[in-house]
């Protein structure tokens, strides 16, 4: 269940209260999966009941309650990252949500998440192919043809998933090269100016500090780790 898992993954980063969890989730998934605050709070209540989260400290000045992970909650997050998305029991969107969170929550081995999923999807594809290989593609009766076409539909979907995972991996690799290059150019510029000590004062491109301040959290404490 991806809202549940998604909130846990976000809380692994730091304690948050409901409204912020909601906006962080939407930020990171590009607003593709809007949540309402009610959903977030009922989910938090269930997570608390199940012993995966607990209240963190006292309510703030505006009465907002922050939640943090328990040890069991942390174990659940680790389990989620290391287990492929199960295609039978979850909405297909879970994979996309999972990867969107994996690339933004610090400390997640995204390559590993990608590979775990890829292996699982290939296994699924092998199962489908075994079913397919029982029939001869030429000269099958109508109802068998229909079944073949349904199988092919599943094969194309699984294949599409693998190609998307390849794309995710390639994009990550390119982004890593880009970041290295950015750092290199900045270092060169600073070496030129001879004031390398000031580097950390520069804003980081690509993070919307304004939006973060709106949630009442100082931008500096939330800068992405590298």
């Amino acid at each position: 269940m991806s809202i549940r898992q998604g909130l846990l993954a976000l809380l692994a980063q730091e304690p948050m209260y409901g409204a912020r969890l909601r906006s962080e989730f939407e930020d990171r998934t590009g607003g593709t999966w809007p949540l309402n605050v009610g959903q977030v709070y009922t989910t938090l209540t269930r997570l608390e009941r199940d012993g995966l989260v607990e209240v963190s400290g006292r309510p703030d000045a505006e009465g907002r309650i922050a939640y943090r992970l328990t040890d069991a909650g942390r174990a659940e997050v680790t389990r989620w990252w290391s287990t492929p998305v199960d295609r039978d029991s979850t909405p297909r969107d879970e994979l996309a949500i999972k990867l969107a969170l994996a690339v933004t929550v610090p400390g997640v081995d995204v390559q590993r998440v990608v590979q775990t999923q890829r292996t699982a999807t290939l296994r699924h594809l092998q199962d489908l192919t075994r079913l397919k290989s029982r029939n001869d593609p030429a000269g099958v009766p109508r109802h068998e043809l229909a079944w073949q076409l349904v199988l092919e539909n599943l094969v194309y979907a699984a294949e599409g998933e693998v190609r998307w995972l390849d794309h995710v991996e390639a994009s990550l690799a390119r982004a890593a090269v880009g970041r290295r290059e950015e750092t290199r150019q900045r270092d060169v510029r600073e070496a030129d100016r001879g004031d390398g000590a000031d580097a950390s004062a520069e804003g980081h491109p690509g993070t919307s500090e304004g939006g973060r301040e709106a949630h009442g959290i100082p931008a500096t404490s939330r800068r992405r780790r590298r």
């Binding site: 389990r79 590979q115 890829r118 092998q126 192919t129 593609p137 693998v162």
Partner: protein, 246 residues
């Protein structure tokens, strides 16, 4: 599909391959171990430059490992003379190269018959086997055409027919479906699968998941290292030993 009861037909034991030296050193493959049993088809997937072709060349004795051992049919490739190795390749191993390697001055049938003729099989017998092999990949009617008179996909199928001709026991194929449409690509995989079900061993490099899925096992390479495989899922006890799964 493939319980490999006896010794594996192909075995790579902690194989590494380093190209060049010093500053230009490239670790194309690092500490790779892999077995392909009799009747087994194994697929290799991975991004460009991850070492797939290097692996295939080593598996076929076309290249030698920097460290580690390659054994074909129980024999260490490093221990063979040039002649012994050439003979092993000719008799037992069929290749489909990434760049096909058809000989332009020979017809499709002559290309497909070549491995047998080099091995001393009579012309008539070799041609009969070549026609059969061309037929199995659906290009029997092209037997007397030259490579330049065929489309890319047709040339590809001729190259596959050549790799499968006669009694090859080990088939090594590098992107054999590259220029083929989905139906033709699939029919090639069906042929390869059938060969393995009849007792050949196959190692297939492909970037297409739907083709890799015909294999008994899919091995994933990245930066010259095996990062995962779809081998039998871990037994329940193993999962209990490592509850976190990582």
């Amino acid at each position: 599909m493939s319980a490999s009861a006896g010794a594996p037909l192909l075995e790579l034991i902690r194989v590494s391959r380093v190209h060049g030296e010093g500053a230009t050193e490239v670790h194309a493959l690092t500490d790779v171990s892999l077995q392909v049993g009799v009747g087994e088809l194994v697929a290799v997937m991975g991004p460009s430059g991850s070492g797939k072709s290097t692996l295939l060349n080593l598996a076929g004795g076309l290249d030698r490992p920097t460290t580690g051992q390659v054994r074909i049919d129980g024999r260490d490739v490093a221990g063979l003379s040039h002649r012994g190795l050439a003979e092993l390749r000719r008799r037992k191993v069929g290749f489909v190269f990434q760049d096909l390697n058809l000989i332009p001055s020979l017809t499709a049938a002559e290309n497909a018959a070549l491995p047998l003729e080099l091995d001393g099989v009579g012309v008539r017998q070799a041609r009969a086997s070549a026609l059969e092999s061309l037929g199995s990949v659906g290009v029997a009617e092209l037997a007397d055409r030259f490579p330049e008179e065929m489309s890319g996909g047709q040339q590809q199928r001729v190259a596959i027919a050549r790799a499968l001709v006669g009694e090859r026991r080990l088939v090594l194929a590098d992107e054999p479906t590259g220029a083929l449409d989905s139906h033709t690509g699939e029919s090639v995989l069906r042929v390869l699968r059938a060969r393995c079900d009849e007792g050949a061993s196959g190692l297939l490099v492909t970037h297409e998941a739907r083709h890799a899925a015909w294999a008994d096992r899919v091995v994933f390479l990245r930066d010259g290292v095996v990062v995962d495989t779809t081998g039998a899922p871990p037994a329940a006890e193993e999962l209990l030993d490592h509850p976190s799964g990582v």
